[in-house]
């Protein structure tokens, strides 16, 4: 390419770079075209889906609110509109109560979508499996329980989470153990999702969870303590208190004190007061936090001593608890602000007295 230009020697490296540059530019240009085509297809698809939804939603709504069987306008829907129809049905099920929910479930089955979801659960792609689990859970398809239990062993976290959520929707407390086995070592997100699963099951989850507190795996005990704290059922208090006093795992003990504070039952007051003297600062901090709604003169005296704690979080939580303990707490803070020998104590007391003088929060 360079031959023929005066005084310019041909350079193999230059030639190579020029040719490679042309190839590179062409590759990128093709990528741009591909993305442009994809965008065009997406725009057309979205428009068609919106149009199909506008047509199908009123027909389905009429079916749900009536007693007639599924109309042919729905049973006759073919691919690719079947995908749209499936989600029209799913979206209609959000917040639906009996008898509408029964009508929706029967339609979902009659239209063959349960079979579609079952096939999805076997897909090679994790997002398809997850979506299948989600749809089956949303429609509370009991027949999917064995497959959903199997998916608790899926390598992808999202699939495990959605399977556990779907199992929670079915409401069977006997699924708790396998769910916790599957998710105990996962992230906080898993624990959070498990909360919604457990709430779906409701009070029937308490007894199985209490039994799980004896599990040898500390990660499971930790998760279960969190869940029992969130459920707030007082039946769990003796078992949680037991974990708080004597669990061999430090994190489980801390979580147990936190759960006791969250449930806030007067029967745990003495244990929380005892926790203010624990060697672990995290337990002292949780115990201080937990005493805020409980109150007693013994608690006030113990919290006053915690204002001198060397760890800031303990002082902070003790100050907060005193600020919430009415006149006795306020008097303690005032005394600490004026008379405490340590500046740290005086300052934390001053800080919470300032908080007391602020009006309630308003946005």
């Amino acid at each position: 390419m360079l031959v023929g230009m005066k005084n310019i020697p041909s350079d193999p490296l230059l030639t190579l770079v020029i040719h490679a540059s042309i190839v590179l530019v062409l590759v990128v240009a093709v990528l741009v075209l591909v993305l442009l085509v994809i965008k065009f297809v997406v725009v057309v698809y979205d428009r068609d889906v919106a149009k199909a939804k506008r047509r199908l939603e009123p027909i389905f709504e009429q079916f749900v609110s009536g007693t007639a069987p599924l109309p042919a306008a729905l049973t006759g829907v073919r691919w690719p509109l079947r995908g749209v129809l499936q989600y029209v049905v799913i979206h209609r099920s959000f917040g639906a109560e009996e008898p509408a929910l029964k009508r929706i479930q029967s339609a979902y089955k009659r239209l063959g979508f349960i079979d579609v979801d079952h096939r999805r659960l076997k897909s090679l792609f994790w997002w398809v499996r997850a979506e299948g689990a989600r749809c089956l859970g949303q429609l509370k398809v009991r027949g999917a329980k064995p497959q959903l239990l199997r998916l608790l062993g899926d390598p992808t976290l999202e699939v495990r989470l959605l399977s556990s959520w779907a199992l929670g929707r079915l409401g069977d407390a006997d699924t708790l153990q396998p769910i916790i086995d599957a998710l105990a070592k996962d992230s906080r997100v898993a624990a959070m999702r498990l909360s919604s699963t457990v709430f779906e099951i409701g009070p029937r989850a308490v007894e199985p969870l209490i039994r799980l507190l004896r599990n040898p795996d500390p990660a499971q005990r930790l998760l279960v303590v969190h869940l029992l704290g969130e459920l707030g059922d007082k039946k769990a208090l003796p078992s949680i208190a037991d974990r708080a006093k004597s669990d061999e795992d430090k994190e489980v003990r801390i979580a147990a004190y936190k759960a006791l504070g969250t449930i806030a039952d007067p029967s745990t007051r003495d244990l929380l007061i005892a926790g203010l003297g624990d060697p672990l600062w995290e337990i002292r901090a949780q115990a201080a936090r937990g005493l805020a709604p409980l109150g007693s003169s013994a608690a006030v005296r113990a919290l006053a001593r915690c204002l001198e704690d060397p760890v800031w979080w303990v002082r902070r939580n003790a100050g907060e608890a005193l600020a919430k303990l009415g006149e006795a707490g306020k008097a303690t803070l005032l005394k600490a602000q004026r008379e405490a020998p340590s500046q740290m104590t005086r300052e934390i007391a001053a800080q919470w007295l300032d908080e007391l003088e602020s009006p309630p929060a308003a946005l």
Binding site: I8, S21, Q351
Partner: protein
């Protein structure tokens, strides 16, 4: 060796450099695209609302340094207070403003001085007073002597009571669920994640009311639209890929979430640099790797911060000059990591990338224009070589901008109007003919200014988001 030979030598070198840079950008784009796709798939199955319901989310202190922001600070604080998150506090740090910033805040939020404990775990300029709002419990305002943005952030860190802090610019707007989404990685792996960065979008031209972006539009000014495309390229095509490799060297100062203790351990923000945001992130990487701790610093494309970009060339030039100086400083202060296998991919890939490409490419580009133009005139460089340079310097730039634009369109579709999309398409093309070259000159000057020891920030004039 005569001038023609020199020009030929340079032309081969510069062409090779541009080719390798282009290959790298393409590889980074592909990595970013795949990662964005995976992220979007995962996001389908985890909504921010679930995090909102949870009781286990870590509390966050939102730190908003403010210097002479009286026009926009009240609106910005209102928008911060409307964030959807279970437990957070907003700390505005008035950095010795000479205008009515503090007065505006006192009036708008009924602030009252409090005896709030102030632990200067990181040294800062003196704090004059700490105010708490009588109307809003989770709003604090620190009034301090002027010390710069880094100093303000350090004061905010010292005052915060939460284990995480989010740094934002006082004139930026966060979307309501931004805290939820930027905190998500901390929920997934709290002990590992050290910092997360969100996406910064251009607010100029958007319809904004009461600190909320109601309608996303382009601004009608080419300068702003060029920056919109640039931000797509930088964030979506660049940071997503670097984050995947755990080689993200910069989290935008306009929107980042950090775990407080590692930042304090690292010494907080340096106030003797202009690019304190990047410098901190690089230092965090270094500290964690030196201590051989497992960690992650991530970029997420969902949490969005809207910010005002310069609308005049003068202000834009000052900004880019400062960014270039900040980049050079950050690399210089942590040069021990450069090409050092002890720092893994960070030392062997990310640091060289930032040095050889982000830092030096303006100089190479300008040299390239000079070499190839002169070479063509003197017949030292052939037309094919000149065209190859033009393709790599300009045409490829257009294509990479288009790729970033399409990636944004496919993943987020934030610009619903066709007119805006067409405008951005045109901007993606036009920015490569003049605008980018001008910025290369500005950045090259920035590098020279850094070598000469220039430290000033330069005044950033803003119209205010409203």
């Amino acid at each position: 060796m005569n001038l023609n030979h020199l020009l030929q030598l340079f032309s081969v070198g510069i062409l090779t450099y541009f080719f390798l840079v282009s290959v790298f950008y393409l590889a980074l784009f592909c990595l970013s695209f795949v990662e964005l796709l995976r992220h979007q798939l995962r996001a389908r199955f985890a909504t921010p609302k679930e995090i909102l319901k949870a009781k286990i989310v870590p509390p966050i202190s939102v730190l908003a340094p403010a210097y002479n922001e009286e026009k926009s600070v009240v609106m910005s604080v209102h928008s911060l207070l409307r964030l959807e998150y279970r437990q957070f506090e907003v700390i505005v740090i008035n950095d010795g403003s000479s205008d009515g910033t503090l007065d505006a805040l006192i009036q708008a939020f009924a602030l009252k001085k409090v005896a709030r404990q102030y632990f200067p775990r990181i040294p800062t300029r003196p704090v004059r007073a700490i105010y708490r709002s009588q109307r809003v419990r989770n709003l604090l305002v620190i009034d301090k002597e002027n010390g710069g943005k880094a100093d303000s952030l350090n004061a905010g860190i010292n005052t915060s009571t939460c284990p995480l802090f989010c740094c934002i610019d006082a004139d930026s707007i966060l979307e309501k669920d931004s805290l939820l989404t930027i905190a998500h990685p901390f929920l997934e792996a709290y002990s590992e994640v050290v910092a997360t960065g969100g996406l910064v979008r251009v607010a100029n031209g958007c319809k904004i009311k009461d600190g909320e972006v109601l309608e996303v539009r382009t601004s009608g000014r080419w300068l702003v639209d060029f920056q919109i495309v640039e931000y797509f390229r930088a964030f979506l095509s660049g940071r997503t890929g670097l984050s995947k490799l755990n080689c993200l060297l910069v989290i935008s100062g306009a929107f980042g979430l950090f775990k407080k203790e590692p930042v304090i351990e690292a010494g907080g923000y340096r106030h003797d640099v202009v690019g304190e945001d990047m410098e901190l992130v690089v230092r965090l990487h270094r500290m964690m790797r030196d201590a051989k701790r497992t960690y992650q610093i991530k970029f997420l494309p969902d949490p969005v911060c809207w910010t005002e970009v310069p609308e005049s060339m003068r202000v834009l030039s000052r900004q880019r000059n400062r960014w270039q100086r900040g980049l050079a400083e950050s690399l210089f202060h942590n040069k021990v990591m450069l090409g050092n296998p002890r720092y893994g991919l960070l030392g062997m890939v990310a640091m060289p990338y930032f040095l050889l490409i982000e830092c030096l490419s303006p100089v190479v580009e300008i040299t390239g224009y000079a070499v190839f133009t002169l070479g063509l005139m003197r017949a030292a460089v052939g037309l094919p070589a000149f065209l190859a340079f033009f393709m790599l310097a300009t045409v490829l730039g257009v294509l990479l901008s288009l790729l970033a634009l399409f990636m944004e369109e496919l993943a987020f579709k934030r610009y619903p109007k066709v007119k805006d999309l067409l405008r951005l398409l045109a901007a993606a093309v036009l920015e490569n003919f003049g605008y980018r070259q001008y910025l290369s000159l500005v950045r090259a000057k920035g590098l020279v200014d850094w070598i000469r020891g220039k430290k000033a920030w330069g005044a950033m004039e803003r119209a205010g988001l409203s």
